[in-house]
């Protein structure tokens, strides 16, 4: 058996050799026979003739030998391939459209699927990733899960979680200032507990992870570096273990280096011990718990064990109607990007579908045109089998070429896509690897085969006589058109759905972009500096830093105003609970708190609505005062004066002395729009309680805001000089114009809107092509009929109308179908649309207009051929 297989394989590989030896053998036979005849006394010429005559057809024998060896099919395949390629070359219009359709739709799919695969499906790069999970809190009512827990929950889980390898970590990174080897830089730091690397299954390449003794409050200051950081700051020196670096101004000892290619749950440059506790950041849900299932623990067991632990916790830790559970790590990590990504991918698949329908329509038309040829072949004895095989081969050739082109297009689109997607945190290693290529190859094949098989199947059912009789004399109409018409209706409907979604997202984006900034963004520069540093964790220290740097900056020529603010406009501010003075603690609500220094109100150009601005005399040691914004006043002190009220927040009491206008910020709590005018309390930086300064700097980095008359270049230079004069070891982590920050705050919405718009456009173009194809083939089929009509006195306009109207009718049907399907799609967009309602007349108008334009053009252009029909020539051709 095996030897037969290898023999066949060898034959396939060495086809040429096989042919040569077969030819040789038969020729030798003929010559031997000839020689024998000559020896028997026959004339050489006669002997030759007789030998050949006796043998019969050499080609036929060769064919039988090939078949006997099982190589015949290979020859047939080669023939089919060559014929198919010739057919494709001879119909450049069809080939171009088909290949372009495949290339564009598969290309779009390749690019987006790479992203989706890397973000959602590709197994995490750790050993046995299916056993990795994250502890989550599930809201019992709606099943929504939250992946963050507080310190007490961590302790309870750690103590009682049997059968699980547990570690706590911080699910995000913070930017910190690092001084290593004399150079200062700004790096991303992630805090993880002891056992984190072990639980992931990724031990450090050099040194070790954190020990339990180091992972407690007050433990040793140690750090583990990433491979890239080690290469960059230490030139890969293997003696780095034991070296000291300055993190936030404090010395840390390097105890480990991670292997190259290691990816933590967030992109980090170095790790430090988490030191989980139940107060400070542990009093809020700021931890995440990684859990690796032991070999003998199953998922349901782990779930019930954690639910049990959850029940022992106090309600204030576990927030009443939630229970503790566990979810696969990949799901928990990709939770927030899952829905938007899948939605976008659904849209891309819809476009692929449109492309497929186009292709099917094209193939159907082509099959009808080739009906005559096929029938003749069959009549000449071709048989259905070879015919179907021929069509199949052509389909495969198309699929392979189209698929290859598609992957090429996709590889060009992917970097573009990633450039938009990375700011969103889709920080994944998306490449067009073998997985993606296989998936796309199969997709391409499935597309063409499924949509190409239908015409083939239809063809094989036609009787020869019927086809030959029909092909000469087609008259208008006929039920043969309905499959194609339905296909185009479906295409148009899908385009309508995509158009509606795209328009809605675009309008939502426009609405968000039009949120009143509340200040003048032009010419304003923001320099963000991380103050998570031992030298800046009291109010006195930051007050001095701000004063010194602002003095310098104000003195620079061209600078109009400068200030420092904990949160720049468009950023997400700190939220904190507060109570009105005199109210019991249960009445606490949430507000945003921002500390400022310098001429904050002037720098931003905020209107002062009541009371007074903060003054330089409001400083450390003087009575604590605060400014609030208009939203705060309206929401919490709606009836009565705001100025003069007292509130308690951040462990201190403050008197409200003024009200200013709203500034746009990213919403930090509640269900509001992504950017809005939330309530804010502004206080002087120097009056912040010391404990809060240190805490806040762990999460937020203040920005120096500078406005210069001479433009942003001057402002940028001024702030650099001012900061360097005040403290040269503080690196600026980001220096940008505030308008750039504005753009950055809406990057997710912009990404979605743009992508959807591009897809809608693509779908529309494809649908237009499909429509045009339908009308064009209708016209060419009806040439004879139209010629007769023109002769009998119809005007060209009437003839034109009779050709165009079916096209418009199809478009209208598609519009109706799409309009019915659109609400479903819009339902899926819930949570992504702001400030607009789905059934707005503007949206409907835009979509209908776009569709009419496309449908009109698509129907008219091919029908214009009618104008050139010369009735005399057409009839004479019959």
């Amino acid at each position: 058996m095996l030897s037969r297989l290898t023999a066949s394989l060898r034959l396939i590989v060495d086809r040429l050799g096989f042919e040569r030896s077969l030819d040789r053998e038969l020729r030798d036979h003929l010559e031997s026979r000839q020689a024998d005849l000559v020896a028997a006394g026959v004339e050489p010429a006669e002997a030759r003739r007789r030998a050949r005559h006796e043998f019969g057809s050499v080609e036929a024998v060769k064919e039988e030998c090939r078949e006997a060896t099982g190589v015949a099919w290979l020859h047939a395949l080669g023939r089919d391939l060559r014929y198919g390629l010739r057919q494709l070359r001879r119909n450049p219009a069809f080939t171009t459209v088909a290949l372009a359709t495949l290339a564009l739709t598969i290309g779009a799919n390749t690019a987006l699927y790479s992203l989706v695969d890397a973000a959602l499906f590709r197994p995490l790069p750790y050993p046995e990733p299916e056993r990795l999970g994250q502890v989550v809190r599930t809201v019992v009512d709606d099943g929504e899960t939250m992946p963050s827990v507080d310190g007490r929950t961590w302790e309870a889980v750690r103590d009682a979680g049997k059968g699980l390898q547990l570690a706590a970590f911080s699910d995000w990174t913070t930017g910190v200032n690092l001084v290593a080897g004399g150079a200062a830089s700004h790096v991303e730091q992630q805090k993880v507990s002891a056992g984190f690397f072990a639980a992931l299954g990724a031990p450090p390449a050099l040194g070790r992870g954190f020990s339990a003794e180091e992972d407690v409050p007050g433990g040793a200051a140690v750090t583990v570096l990433s491979h890239d950081l080690w290469q960059g700051s230490f030139a890969g020196d293997p003696r780095v273990l034991g070296d000291r670096v300055l993190l936030r101004g404090e010395p840390y000892e390097v105890i480990g280096v991670m292997p190259p290619g290691f990816r933590s749950t967030s992109p980090a440059d170095l790790w430090t011990p988490l030191r989980p506790s139940t107060d400070g950041e542990g009093s809020g849900t700021n931890y995440a718990i990684l859990a690796r299932l032991d070999d003998d623990t199953s998922w349901p067991e782990a779930k019930s064990r954690l639910a049990g632990v959850g029940r022992t916790l106090l309600p204030e830790n576990l927030d009443g109607a939630t229970e503790l559970g566990i979810a696969p790590l990949q799901n928990a990590q990709s939770q927030y990007v899952r829905r938007p990504l899948l939605l976008l991918w659904g849209a891309v698949i819809a476009v692929l579908l449109v492309g497929c329908l186009n292709l099917a329509s094209l193939l159907l038309a082509r099959t009808a045109a080739r009906g005559h040829e096929m029938a003749v072949r069959q009549a000449l004895g071709g048989g259905r089998g070879p015919l179907l095989r021929q069509l199949l081969t052509e389909g495969v050739v198309l699929a392979v070429c189209g698929g290859a082109l598609g992957i090429l297009v996709g590889s060009l689109l992917l970097p573009l896509l990633l450039r938009f997607a990375t700011p969103l945190g889709y920080d994944v290693d998306a490449t067009i690897d073998l997985r993606v290529m296989t998936a796309m190859g199969l997709l391409s094949l499935a597309t063409v085969l499924v949509f190409g098989l239908y015409p083939a199947w239809k063809l094989s059912r036609m009787s020869v006589r019927q086809v030959i009789a029909d092909s000469g004399r087609t008259v208008a109409g006929g039920s043969r058109h309905w499959p194609r018409r339905l296909l185009v209706v479906a295409e148009v409907a899908l385009s309508v759905v995509l158009l509606v979604t795209g328009t809605l997202l675009a309008r939502s984006l426009s609405h968000l972009q039009q949120v009143d900034p509340g200040f003048e963004p032009a010419g304003l520069v923001a320099a963000t500096v991380s103050l998570q540093d031992a030298r800046y964790d009291t109010a006195a220290e930051i007050e001095q830093l701000f004063r010194q740097s602002l003095e310098r900056i104000d003195a620079a020529p061209g600078v109009e105003a400068a200030a420092v603010s904990l949160s720049a406009p468009y950023e997400r501010p700190l939220n904190t609970p507060f109570v009105k003075a005199g109210d019991p603690p249960e009445e606490r609500q949430l507000t945003n708190l921002v500390y400022v220094a310098g001429d904050f109100v002037d720098t931003l150009g905020l209107p002062l609505l009541a009371g007074r601005d903060l003054r330089p005399t409001d400083r450390r040691g003087t009575p604590r005062v605060a400014l609030v914004n208009r939203t705060f006043g309206e929401r919490y002190f709606a009836d009565g004066p705001v100025v003069g009220q007292r509130i308690a927040a951040a462990d201190a009491e403050w008197e409200i002395v003024g009200v200013v206008g709203d500034v746009v910020q990213r919403t930090s709590f509640g269900d509001g729009e992504p950017v809005s005018h939330p309530p804010v309390v502004y206080v002087a930086a120097g009056q912040m309680p010391d404990a809060y300064v240190a805490l806040v700097h762990g999460w937020f980095a203040p920005s120096w805001l500078v406005r210069a008359g001479g433009g942003t270049g001057i402002a940028a230079q001024a702030v650099r000089d001012g900061l360097r004069a005040a403290d040269p070891t503080l690196p600026i982590s980001r220096l940008a114009e505030v308008s750039e920050v504005a753009d950055g705050s809406l990057v997710e919405q912009r990404f979605q809107a743009w992508l959807m718009a591009c897809l809608a456009l693509l779908a529309l173009v494809l649908a237009g092509v499909g429509l045009a194809g339908l009308v064009a083939s209708g016209v060419s089929e009806r040439r004879r009929e139209l010629g007769i009509r023109l002769t009998l006195g119809a005007t060209r306009g009437q003839a034109l109308a009779s050709a165009v109207l079916p096209g418009l009718a199809v478009a209208a049907a598609g519009l109706a179908a799409g309009a019915l399907a659109a609400p479903l799609a819009v339902g899926l967009l819930r949570g992504l649309l702001w400030g607009i309602s789905a059934s707005e007349p503007q949206t409907v108008a835009v979509v209908a207009l776009a569709l009419l334009a496309v449908a009109g053009t698509a129907s008219l252009l091919p029908a214009l051929k009618i104008v050139s029909i010369d009735p005399a020539t057409t009839l004479r051709r019959e």
């Binding site: 037969r4 036979h29 043998f55 057809s57 036929a60 024998v61």
Partner: protein, 113 residues
């Protein structure tokens, strides 16, 4: 001139196997030997020979190798494989059974039916 009789495919296989069992041969030689073995009664139709040979090689009953024939030319020689030997035995038995049955049938006297 000998009679050319139409042979069933199975019979041709049997004759080829037998011819080759007497010693490796190239295609033309097999043709001659079959003629010779049958006492010049059987003449194989030339067009059927090579497909049959290739089929037998593909089935593993014959093995082929290029060598030199007695007049010095290069030719492809066929020889019997162990599997072919077994096949030859079973084909012979089958033929004997068949031939015996046919012989008995045509000798039937009216009264035996």
């Amino acid at each position: 001139m000998a009679d050319t009789t139409d042979l069933l495919q199975g019979t041709l296989d049997l004759l080829i196997l037998k011819a080759v069992s007497l010693g490796p041969l190239h295609g033309y030689g097999i043709l001659l030997r079959i003629q010779q073995m049958s006492g010049d009664v059987l003449e194989v139709r030339q067009g059927s020979l090579y497909p049959a040979l290739y089929r037998l090689v593909s089935g593993g009953f014959l093995a082929s190798k290029w060598g030199r024939s007695d007049n010095g030319r290069r030719a492809r020689f066929y020889r019997l494989t162990p599997r072919g030997e077994r096949q030859l035995v079973s084909e012979r038995e089958r033929w004997d059974r068949l031939a015996g049955a046919v012989t008995a049938a045509i000798r039937t006297r009216p009264e035996e039916v």
